[in-house]
């Protein structure tokens, strides 16, 4: 078949710039073939090359702590947790596919991130999801929300990996461009870590798993554009998931890795065969001879271009130690999966692709990849004009609410605050029998079998804060995830990040991005939680505007003893209720301001990293000395919402509370303020003395608020509510909206 002739126009249609096309011609010393153009265009797309982000990402702390493998070296970072074990974890976005085809978009997002983990030889033990949608009042939002949750559920449930934590936010800024960020956490014996490398001349290259079809062609390029009315037509760019094949691929891959028959293995996600062949060979400073005739195909008549760019799911590329081909084949046959030798490793550094007797592409693999020949840009930045505008907001002019109880109920019923049970009950959270603390608490806690340890994990980001102040807001995202880990009894280990921003070619968006990276670096260095890796998703825009800048943080912590596992809800009557940390009546970006006054304005709450770290150390000391019954961080909705959650979060045992919240200047300000570094604690009276002595020793600011009771939620003698009423708001709001 005759290939299309490559012209300048065709290159631009592929999303390449003039400059990039010139560069390709220079690298090859000729005009690229059509297949080569396709390969370059996907490999140099934002999604694969990180061309507009890598320079800034490299400023993040990417080593230290307990990190074994640095960010960017492999498919995911690795953190040592002792006992010969390491944790591999990573978060990734699937925003664009989910915007046009929510079910498959989200499902394949889960599948992709799982493969990143098990290609390292790690068995995935948990999945987390950070989701953002437009307003739930909107029918399309409800359709997207429902589809995404089903997609995540059906894929993860079938795979048998528990989905244990995450977050869901609703805000108009995500109306046409939802965010779907999936995180996977895996465990690996440090002796069985696999590498994504190709080396050793003559070693066979195998494609394993699903056959290759026409689905997902140019998915990576699609993800590197803004969402528009035309996006609906890109539905064919969305891949279709097959969780059964993924489950078989998972078992087969772990089996061959454990047996030591591999040189390297990499999953096929974005840019399919193009990406895995070029990245693996570039990493090993080698090349590959690939014969596409050997690739198992789903349909007849596929071109080299299509085969190279297909993003069919559930496939892996393996470089096998010569002589072990049959052993590897035997394992894949046992699991009823395809396993074909499609080529071999060479020493010339060239990716050499042939098909139907013709040479289709010859490209130095190094030139295609990030860290090699892929372009690197730093874009222009400019502080957006809205920043100065919103900072002028005068909080004193907010009218005082007439009825405090009604105001509280309205905020407490915000979909951002109420229970996400409607979501997480659709996820299997108990399979693998390690879930000690499942969804609904501050962080999930997952037991590591045959040890007395557990892992705490959480995703976090308040994007309103980041919108108001990208640098400080991102610091808060890191601090809050650490706070959640600590509240569960864990020591923060490391983070992974999913950076969801708008078009980087707009200087305002790039300013947000660069500020966020600065804040993240500062916070991660301070908490000694390096970045293990992650994902950048630009072009999150709809015709109206960019989404709120959303640098989602996924954090993993180590619970050194199972006795340290702590939950957020009150346990029994007559316990003392304390708040640790100080209130500054900060309402910028608060749920109160948005829900009651329909404003997103001001500055985000301030964060003092030293105060935050001291709080973490205090909490961990209290937990270690068994002095507290519960710990729950104060976040959206302020202290009053946090207290209400403590009362009703355990559905089997509601506990009342009678408290007096100190008022600084105004009741509504103090009750709904979202000042950082605060945690609600309940303490058994017999421990009060020892508890306070630790607080004093640590110089930890605190206040005794009141006591837990049999019934009722009583605040400052002004709000007096039945727990039943509270729980109906908390648990029934989202089902009521979704089942309407």
């Amino acid at each position: 078949m005759q290939e299309l002739e490559v012209t300048h126009e065709l290159a631009l249609e592929h999303g390449l710039t003039d400059e990039e096309f010139e560069r390709i011609i220079k690298i090859l010393g000729r005009i690229p073939s059509f297949t080569e153009l396709g390969i370059f265009s996907v490999m140099w797309s934002e999604h694969c090359s990180y061309k507009n982000s890598i320079k800034l990402l490299k400023t993040l702390p990417r080593s230290g702590g307990r990190l074994l493998v640095e960010a960017g070296e492999e498919n995911a970072g690795l953190v040592d947790i002792g006992d010969g074990l390491a944790v591999a974890f990573k978060i990734e976005s699937h925003n664009h596919p989910s915007a046009v085809e929510p079910y498959q978009g989200a499902a394949t997002g889960v599948g992709g991130i799982m493969r990143d983990i098990f290609t390292m030889g790690a068995r995935p033990i948990a999945c987390l999801d950070s989701l953002r949608f437009g307003s739930l009042d909107d029918a399309r939002t409800r359709y997207l929300f429902d589809g995404v949750v089903r997609g995540i559920g059906d894929y993860g449930n079938c795979l048998g990996i528990p989905t244990v934590a995450g977050e869901v936010y609703f805000d108009e800024s995500y109306q046409d461009n939802p965010l779907v960020n999936a995180m996977s956490v895996g465990l690996v014996n440090t002796e069985h870590v696999a590498s994504a490398i190709a080396k050793g001349e003559g070693n066979p290259v195998m494609i394993v798993g699903s056959s290759t079809g026409r689905d997902g062609i140019h998915g990576a390029t699609f993800a590197s554009e803004e969402i528009s009315e035309k996006s609906e037509a890109k539905r064919p760019s969305v891949q279709v998931g097959d969780p059964l094949t993924e489950k078989l691929l998972l078992e087969a891959s772990l089996e061959i890795i454990k047996n030591g028959w591999l040189v390297g293995i990499q999953d096929m996600g974005a840019a399919g065969i193009s990406c895995s062949t070029s990245e693996m060979s570039a990493r090993g400073k080698s090349g590959m001879n690939i014969n596409l005739d050997k690739v198992p195909l789903r349909e007849k008549g596929m071109t080299a271009y299509e085969i190279m760019l297909s993003e069919s799911q559930e496939r892996m590329l393996c470089v096998v130690k010569k002589g072990f081909e049959d052993k590897v084949k035997e394992v894949f046959e046992k699991w009823d999966l395809h396993c074909e030798i499609i080529g071999e490793v060479t020493n010339d550094g060239l990716l050499h692709i042939s098909y139907q007797g013709a040479v289709k592409a010859v490209i130095p693999s190094f030139e295609l990849v990030l860290g090699g020949g892929a372009p690197v840009y730093v874009r222009e930045t400019k502080e957006p004009t809205y920043i100065k505008e919103i900072r002028k907001f005068d909080f004193k002019k907010i009218p005082q609410p007439k009825n405090l109880a009604e105001t509280f109920k309205k905020i407490f019923s915000s979909p951002n605050i109420v229970s996400k049970k409607w979501v997480f009950e659709q996820y299997d959270s108990t399979v693998r029998t390690n879930t000690i603390v499942g969804p609904g608490c501050d962080a999930a806690v997952i037991h590591i079998k045959d040890t007395g340890k557990a892992l705490a994990m959480k995703t976090d980001c308040n994007s309103r804060y980041v919108y108001l102040n990208p640098k400080e807001g991102t610091k808060i995202a890191v601090a809050e995830s650490a706070r959640n880990i600590v509240c569960s009894g864990g020591i923060p280990l490391a983070i992974t990040n999913c950076l969801n921003f708008g078009n980087p070619y707009k200087p305002e968006n790039y300013w947000q991005f660069s500020q966020a990276i600065e804040g993240m670096g500062e916070a991660c260095r301070f908490f000694n939680t390096p970045v293990t890796g992650g994902n950048v998703s630009f072009y999150n825009e709809s015709p109206n505007a960019a989404v709120y800048p959303t640098p989602t943080i996924g954090m993993v912590g180590l619970v050194e003893k199972l006795a340290n596992v702590t939950t957020s809800f009150f346990k029994s009557h007559n316990d003392l209720i304390y708040v640790l940390g100080e209130d500054y009546e900060e309402l910028g970006g608060s749920e109160y301001l948005k829900v009651i006054h329909n404003k997103v304005a001001g500055d985000c709450p301030h964060l003092d990293l030293q105060v935050e770290l001291n709080l973490h150390e205090t909490i961990l000391a209290l937990i270690k000395n068994k002095l507290i019954e519960s710990a729950h961080d104060v976040s959206e909705g302020g202290i009053i919402c946090a207290l209400a959650e403590c009362c009703i979060m355990n559905e089997e045992n509601f506990i009342g509370a009678e408290v007096n919240i100190p008022i600084r200047t105004r009741e509504d300000f103090s009750l709904f303020s979202e000042s950082q570094s605060r945690i609600i604690i309940s303490v058994n009276e017999t421990n009060q003395k020892e508890f306070e002595s630790i607080l004093n020793k640590k110089k930890q600011h605190h206040a005794l608020l009141g006591k837990t009771t049999n019934e009722k939620f009583i605040i400052n003698n002004k709000i007096n509510l039945d727990l039943k009423e509270l729980s109906e708001i908390y648990y029934d709001t989202i089902p009521r909206i979704m089942n309407a």
């Binding site: 449930n157 079938c158 048998g160 969780p243 699991w335 108990t430 029998t433 037991h447």
Partner: protein
């Protein structure tokens, strides 16, 4: 005597290792995996068809798995009075295979549901349930999309007459009411046994609540009951 449990591994089984771990590591009985392509059942005393999504459940749940090689041996084993225990997907497979009566529909909410539920034990005179004493209910997690048990009137009458309804969704105190039946099962049925009393299927997962570390141990009552009573 230590009983030996054989846990069948279908492509897509995902609770096989959970069952194995509980039986072998926590309860200290013998356990082996039985591969779906094999027919030899390794002298097991009990065969467990575990939870998961056999063959992806892309057709009807359990519809393909029943045609696996190993199922011929499971039929023979059950025929001879061997004990077969189907959990979740395993229950669905037993229904498709005709080893238990009735069928499974999608949950009435049309959603997958994962949560802890309470079960009242209607028949404590089976090898699976004799050991469940002095409790009104047991608390066991469910995790399924197709757990809405259905059977025609005659079948239900026959189940009732022969005391084959073993588990029903109920309140914490053991009241079997519609309100506690999250998937819409007819008569709040969560688990049934065959007439002979050697084949039991249930949707909830006892293997997920048999460990002190998870703070839930009611499931171990069933495995221990089996271990204690199958040789009597």
């Amino acid at each position: 005597m230590k009983p030996k449990f054989g846990i069948v591994v279908f492509p897509g089984s995902n609770c096989d290792h959970d069952a194995y771990y509980v039986i072998k590591k926590i309860l200290n009985y013998d356990a082996v995996f039985l591969w779906h392509k094999d027919t030899y059942i390794q002298n097991c005393d009990v065969i467990i068809l575990p939870g998961g999504f056999s063959y992806g459940d892309y057709l009807r749940t359990g519809a393909i798995a029943r045609f696996s090689h190993i199922m011929d041996s499971v039929f023979n084993f059950a025929e001879k009075g061997g004990y077969v225990f189907g959990i979740c997907n395993g229950f669905q497979i037993l229904l498709e295979a005709g080893l238990l009566p009735g069928c499974m529909l999608k949950n009435k909410s049309l959603q997958f549901i994962c949560k802890d539920v309470y079960l009242s034990v209607r028949n404590k005179d089976t090898v699976f349930t004799k050991g469940i004493e002095n409790v009104k209910t047991i608390k066991v997690p469910i995790a399924h999309g197709d757990g809405n048990y259905f059977a025609d009137k005659d079948t239900l009458n026959s189940l009732e007459e022969n005391n084959q309804i073993v588990f029903q969704y109920s309140s914490k105190d053991g009241e079997s009411l519609e309100a506690f039946n999250t998937n819409g099962s007819v008569m709040n049925i969560a688990g049934i046994i065959n007439k002979r009393g050697n084949v039991l299927g249930m949707m909830p997962h006892p293997e997920r609540c048999s460990s002190k570390i998870l703070g839930k141990t009611d499931g171990s009552l069933i495995f221990n009951s089996l271990a204690k009573n199958i040789f009597n």
